[in-house]
Amino acid sequence: MTQSTDRKVAIICSKAGLDEAYPALILANAARQSGIEAFIFFTFWGLDVITEKKVDHLHVNMAGNPASPMPTMLAGLPGMEAFAAHRMKKSMEELSLPSAREMIEILADAGAELYACELAMQMFKRKPEDLLPQVKEVITAGDFYDLADGAQIIFT
């Protein structure tokens, strides 16, 4: 299959639910595997995915999700979120899907660049040392557009 050689994707990850973070990570990885340049811009709750203390505790929210088998009335009860996250992590393990931390490592090794949003960092009072070492830089939305020049932008 012939592909244009200079393809590039810019992925914006603004949420940190398992169901919201993985698509961004997988898409970036698949892009690298297909020889496409890729970078991810983590903003708002997405910062959790690249935060040292949070990355191993990503959850999944079933409340208000009409596709989930759990009724919203139940999904809002305490413990339900942890239960759902546990179940989802288990099925990911069965597929031998890498953990979020591993995915970040793989991405960095594969040459995908990871960026954190400056404004979100200030809002959540995060310091650059709170982030995973794979994060290349803390940038602004304007910098994002400079980086994304000529790229296809994906928002997850």
């Binding site: 299959m1 997988i26 990885n29 698949a30 690298r32 595997q33 297909s34 020889g35 031998s96 899907l97 890498p98 490592e105 793989i106 090794d109 594969a110 040459g111």
Partner: protein, 320 residues
Amino acid sequence: MNKEFTTITERLDTVLEQLAYLTERQRKQEELIAELTPIAKLALGTATEKLDQLDQQGYFAFGKELVEVAKKVIEGFSPQDVHELGDAVVQILQAVRAMTQPAVLAVAADASSVMDDAAAVKPLGMFGMVRATRDDDVQKGMAIMIEVLRRIGHGANAVAEKSKQLEDKKAKLQLALGSRKQKKPLGIERKRLTAGTPAAPRPAPAAQASCAVPAGPQPSAAVIDGIAYTADGHLVDATAWTRRLGETLAQMQGVTLTDAHWAVLEAARADYETTAVSPNIRRLTQIANVTTKDLYALFPKAPGRTIAKIAGLPKPAGCL
């Protein structure tokens, strides 16, 4: 002679009298017209003004609308509907009479008076609703509403039953008379085209291990030097691969093979021979003792696919 003259004179007198009378009448008519003209003008002016006033008050617009409504009614109802309406009119009138009994109207008026002081009514929550049911009047009202609901349900059931009976009758009639379609065709009998030609059975879906596994052998798109390639540039037959071919393929991919490259390629081929699945990057990191970083360093552009191409394996599956 004298007598004749007298007669003529008398006649002339009569004519003169008549003339005078006619003249007088003409004069009177002219006077009348002269007097009437201003009055008529005035009257016409008033009439125009009046009509204009009516128009301003919207009488004509109303009339026009009324015509429109009538048109809609005529368009919306068929003569059949009107006929049925005629049958029901007695019931409608009875219902209207029942509804317009003074007692009923008084209840309605009293109920609607709530609307007048709606501002004073406080909003009611779920618990408020439960509390309100303790009120005797509310209980009575609720009972009446329930009774009304019961009767509506009863009526609806009756209607449904009636239409079902009608359906049953039709079905019975059909059974007795036999459907036209079931009867044998007259004349030359021939097989119906649709009968006896079942649709070709669908090919059973190939069992797929995970997403995007190429099912079965891929069709060859090109044959170069006796070796068949798929449209993606992978070998159609992995057993046709030789080390020499691998070197050629690597050159085509722009990769200069070193020992490190060969280690990965051989691991990939060995894995394919045991599992019959072309390894993806994650699998390669597990079997070939290399890191993801190494793989991207050795095969910078799309390592998984490039390795598979050079090693003569099918396109690797999966998203990792």
